[in-house]
Symmetry: C2
Subunit: 205 residues, 2 copies
C-alpha cells in the first residue's frame, strides 16, 4: 500500500470515502500517471466511480492503457478548480479546489458481463437516465474497448475552501480581496443535422 498521507497543509486533507466519492462523482475526467519505458506519462481519461472502484476506459489499441492494464503502479488524480482566492499580496493569493488522489494498480475488466455493466454505468454517468434511447453496444464495440478499474482503498482528498488567509497588516480596504468562484458549466446544447425537432434534448447531471 503506497503512502497516501498528506504532509503539506494536513488540515485540508481527508481520507473518508464520502469526501473522496463526492470529488470523483463530480468529475468527467481523471489524470492517470503511469511509468512507461522508465518515465512518467500523465494522460486524461473519462472516468466514473462505480461502487468501490474508479473505472476508466479507452481503445484497446491505445498503448498507454495497455501498459496500465498490466497492473503496474499508477496514480489517478481528479481536480476541480472551484475559485480564485485573491489576497492583498501575491503570496497569499491562492485557489480553492477539491482534489482526490487514487494510488492503486489497475485491474483489467475482462469478464464480458462485468464489462458490459461497467460500460453501461460509465455511459450513465455522462448522460443520466436509462440508456434506452441510444443503440445498444455491439459485441464488437465492447471488444474494441478496454476497461480498467482502480480500487479506492488508498484514496485521499485535499480540499481548500474559503477566502484568503492573510496577516491583519495586509488588510487595506482600498484593495479588493475575496473569492471569484469558478465552475465547469454547460452551454446551450447544439443538436446535429440529423436530430429531429421532436427529439428530447439531453438532461445533464
Amino acid at each position: 500500500m503506497p503512502n497516501t498521507q498528506i504532509v503539506r497543509h494536513p488540515e485540508r486533507a481527508a481520507y473518508d470515502r464520502s469526501t473522496v466519492d463526492a470529488i470523483l462523482d463530480a468529475a468527467y475526467i481523471a489524470h492517470l500517471g503511469a511509468i512507461v519505458d522508465g518515465a512518467p506519462v500523465v494522460l486524461p481519461y473519462v472516468c466514473a466511480r462505480i461502487g468501490d472502484e474508479l473505472v476508466l476506459h479507452g481503445s484497446r489499441l491505445a498503448g498507454t492503457l495497455t501498459v496500465i492494464a498490466q497492473g503496474t503502479p499508477v496514480c489517478t488524480t481528479v481536480t476541480h478548480v472551484d475559485g480564485l482566492v485573491l489576497a492583498r499580496s501575491a503570496f497569499h493569493t491562492s485557489m480553492n479546489y477539491r482534489c482526490a488522489v487514487v494510488h492503486e494498480r489497475a485491474r483489467l475488466v475482462d469478464d464480458p458481463a462485468e464489462k458490459a455493466r461497467m460500460l453501461d454505468a460509465m455511459f450513465e454517468r455522462i448522460l443520466p437516465g436509462p440508456a434506452t434511447q441510444v443503440r445498444a453496444m455491439t459485441d464488437g464495440e465492447r471488444e474494441a474497448t478496454c476497461v480498467i478499474a482502480l480500487p479506492l482503498d488508498a484514496a485521499s482528498a485535499k480540499v481548500r475552501i474559503g477566502g484568503a488567509i492573510e496577516p491583519a497588516a495586509d488588510g487595506d480596504p482600498s484593495v479588493w480581496a475575496g473569492v471569484v468562484p469558478l465552475a465547469l458549466r454547460a452551454g446551450t446544447p447544439q443538436p446535429d443535422a440529423v436530430t429531429g425537432a421532436d427529439a428530447p434534448p439531453p438532461q445533464l447531471r
Copy 2:
C-alpha cells in the same frame, strides 16, 4: 528526448508551439506526474507559461516538489474539457477536449532576480494587469516558495472538436445527438469583510 509521438487518433495531434501555447495559456492548473519512491504520483499545480517554459510553484516544504526540482523525468499535462459529444450509441459518445503534454525534466529556478520575475508573471496570469494594487512580495515569502520551469521542447497537443462521428445507420432523427459545450466559467466575485465599497473588483482574464 522522450517519445512524444501520438499514436492513437493521430489526426487529432499537433506539435506546433502555437497550439500547445494556447492550451497552456488557457489553464489555471496542470497535473504533474513524477516518480516518487518508485511509484507514480500525480498532483495539480497552478501553472503559467512564461516564454518557452511552463512554470509551476509551490511551498519549499512540499515533498513532491522537492523531488521534482531535482531534475527527475516528469510529465505535465493540461486538459480542458470543452464539451460532451452525444451520439446515438454509447460507443460513439465522446468528449471534446484540448490536451497538452509536456515531457521534460524540471529546472529549479534559484536565481533571485529570475525567480522574482517568474513569480510576478505567475501572479499576472491569475489576475491580469499590473500587480501594483497588491503588497509586494517580501524576500522571506520568495524564499519560502519553490519555482520550477519546464522547457516546452518536447510538448505535444491533442484536440477533439466537432460532433459525433457515427455510422449513417445510427442516424435516427428521434434521438437527440450533438454537442453540449462545457467551459470553466467565473461566478460573481465575493469580496471579503475587509474590502471597502470603493475597491475596484478584479478584472479576470
